[in-house]
Symmetry: C2
Subunit: 406 residues, 2 copies
């Protein structure tokens, strides 16, 4: 194929038509560019008559977030396609199928998931996904266990880690999640109504110590191949199906960062219920659903991970040492809780927010939701190294909710 340039609709159709066994030669193809234009072009190409469709996703050589733009490596498209393929092998059915990857064009052809919706939107709609905890815990257990030193040949893991070296995307996380929210950074974005909260974040030494320790783990703890950006906007969902997308931040890091991203984003929606319409009873019922999902994701993850370890553990000493499994899982839980908190705080005062809260129309309700999210996030960060049970996370959330109400 030709040298890198952003594709147009005509080129995208030509590429799709050239793929073996996807479309009939004489098919009438439609094409829409459906990306948000901030990082990638996303072409949806369909043959409506035959009911067939495909996604072509092309990386752009820059990133735009909330109006800012900076150059960004095209290599992230390779990392994304390789991560999707590996995740697809380890967690079949839980990521879109990858049909091809073109290095030159930074272009991936993949399964069209238009029958799914983005989970963040689903939660904002008040939908429930009773199969989600089962699906995402399988995804987490399978991808994290089998890329770790517990479940992967330890020499091959080092080579795999080398191929997922991802400095530019990691830097975004290191800055936006683990630094800027804790100082008066230009990149920060928050409403003036909660400036007191921002000031409190910038001067909270106890919090800074915990975030520094979590930041160090993100920088140095090459535990398993992470998705790296596993919020509810990276999950396509229906009541029956869960598909994890967009692993362009993939790299070898601490397992709790992925698990915490899922839990933290469920809790952001929990906090957003301060500003949702409906009766108190409806709100509390949905919140109970979200909290049940949080504990269920952890409990199922832990059980599945341990089952994999018992059956497929490759590290003799790790398998045999008395108490090691318990010690390991407790540290993953602690990391999960700490990272969940970091993921919440950055979404309120940092550069990139979440629609769950930003889209609340009522200013007072939005402010309550922001304050609740920060209270939960900070409490989880401070809890992390002392945690021994997921129930402590639940207690922390309930206590923060009660305190905000009072």
């Amino acid at each position: 194929m030709s040298a890198y340039h952003p594709l147009d609709v005509t080129e995208a159709i030509a590429i799709a038509r050239g793929l073996d066994g996807v479309f009939q030669p004489d098919a009438q193809l439609t094409c829409r560019e459906i990306g948000d234009g901030n990082l990638n072009l996303v072409f949806h190409i369909a043959d409506p008559a035959a009911g067939r469709s495909i996604i072509l996703k092309q990386a752009l050589p820059y990133a735009k977030v909330v109006g800012e733009s900076w150059p960004l490596t095209l290599d992230r498209a390779r990392i994304e396609s390789e991560a999707l393929r590996l995740e697809g092998k380890l967690a079949p059915g839980l990521v879109p199928a990858v049909y091809f990857y073109d290095q030159e064009l930074a272009l991936t052809g993949m399964e069209d998931l238009s029958d799914h919706i983005i989970m963040r939107q689903g939660l904002m709609n008040g939908s429930r996904y009773p199969l989600f905890a089962g699906h995402i815990s399988t995804f987490l257990a399978q991808t994290l266990f089998f890329t770790s030193d517990l479940g992967h040949n330890q020499q091959e893991k080092k080579l795999l880690s080398r191929s997922f070296t991802n400095p530019e995307l990691c830097k975004i996380t290191e800055d936006l999640i683990f630094d800027d929210p804790y100082r008066d950074a230009e990149s920060n974005s928050f409403e003036e109504t909660i400036r007191d909260e921002a000031l409190a974040l910038w001067s909270d030494g106890e919090l800074h110590l915990e975030v520094a320790i979590l930041r160090e783990k993100f920088l140095t703890h090459a535990q398993a191949l992470l998705h790296g950006d596993l919020h509810t906007g990276s999950i396509f969902i229906t009541p029956e199906s869960t598909k994890v997308i967009d692993p362009e931040f993939a790299y070898f890091g601490p397992m709790g960062f992925d698990i915490g991203a899922v839990l933290g984003n469920l809790l952001l929606n929990y906090a957003s219920r301060e500003g949702r319409d409906g009766s108190d009873a409806e709100r509390e019922d949905y919140r109970a659903y979200l909290l049940d999902t949080v504990t269920d994701v952890w409990a199922q993850f832990e059980a599945k991970f341990l089952a994999l370890w018992n059956e497929h553990g490759v590290d003799r000493l790790a398998n045999a040492a008395p108490g090691y499994k318990e010690h390991y899982m407790q540290r993953v839980l602690q990391d999960t809780i700490g990272f969940a908190g970091c993921k919440m705080v950055r979404r309120i005062v940092g550069l990139a927010h979440v629609a769950d809260i930003d889209k609340l129309a009522d200013a007072a309700a939005r402010e309550r939701a922001q304050r609740l999210a920060l209270r939960i996030g900070k409490s989880l960060i401070k809890l992390n190294r002392g945690a021994v049970s997921i129930n402590q996370l639940v207690d922390t959330v309930l206590a923060a909710s009660a305190a905000v109400k009072a």
Copy 2:
């Protein structure tokens, strides 16, 4: 140059003669192969008349340890030469100068250090090196700080870490230090007189838990570029000069592994004093010198590392978070103590021993030294996560000595 093959003396001379500015064109060169033949060829090439000399070191495509032989990547020569160059920049004068590296031949030309002796031999001779603690603490502080996320651009560090991916050499450590001594492995080697000690190692669950946690750190904690094999046989020394050699095990791992290697090998010599000639007073005096060196290495390392951090720290949050530096240094100390213990245990029951102890002629004295080394090693491993001061290491050593005497 030609494709890879082991060089002979004639070829080595020809290569040395071809180097710019090393020897005169008409020099009468002598050449001796002085390697031990287990991993590398080492050619010492000299012009005695001019008083000039050079070392050519060539990796062999296999490793031999105590009669066993297995294939081993030639890439370790690249890693060694790159590590030496980087260490030479960060810690000038503390490693041999590298003149060239030939990838094809896995051949490095470097400074001749024939006026130094191997430190292990120096300690066995009872020599004292009052400048050593200052030198090695500078080497450790400079190389570890400036390759860590505290002192190195965090994105470039990821790329540097990628280029020091070293699975084959790491596997040797993972097996021989962090697995085999704790099970009835074929590779183990110990005298029948201490079979009771081996059996105790294999069934000590508390010890296995600590070793499993240290093993995990070695596998996953990409904290800084390590030398990776920093025992007293990897150090050339005179009373005035210290040169760290042979970093072919270099990779990004936990700092405490390098520091612990130094301390553990000083303590192996300490244990060997059970079987050395001389009066009790002489023995205790030399032991006091070794223990003073141990505490001095740590204390100077800590002070120099913190001074570098205060002046050159690149991580805003790590620099600013109250209590983080203390927390960081305490964890490095804990790792140091744990890894020092692992380094001692493996030298008594594992595949590769140390001359300090193996060369003791008197069987009863040798056995006492072995039991003392194991007692110290196990105690340090069990102490590691609870340690808050280097004095606890000293107390542990003294208590073990007293217990063996009793």
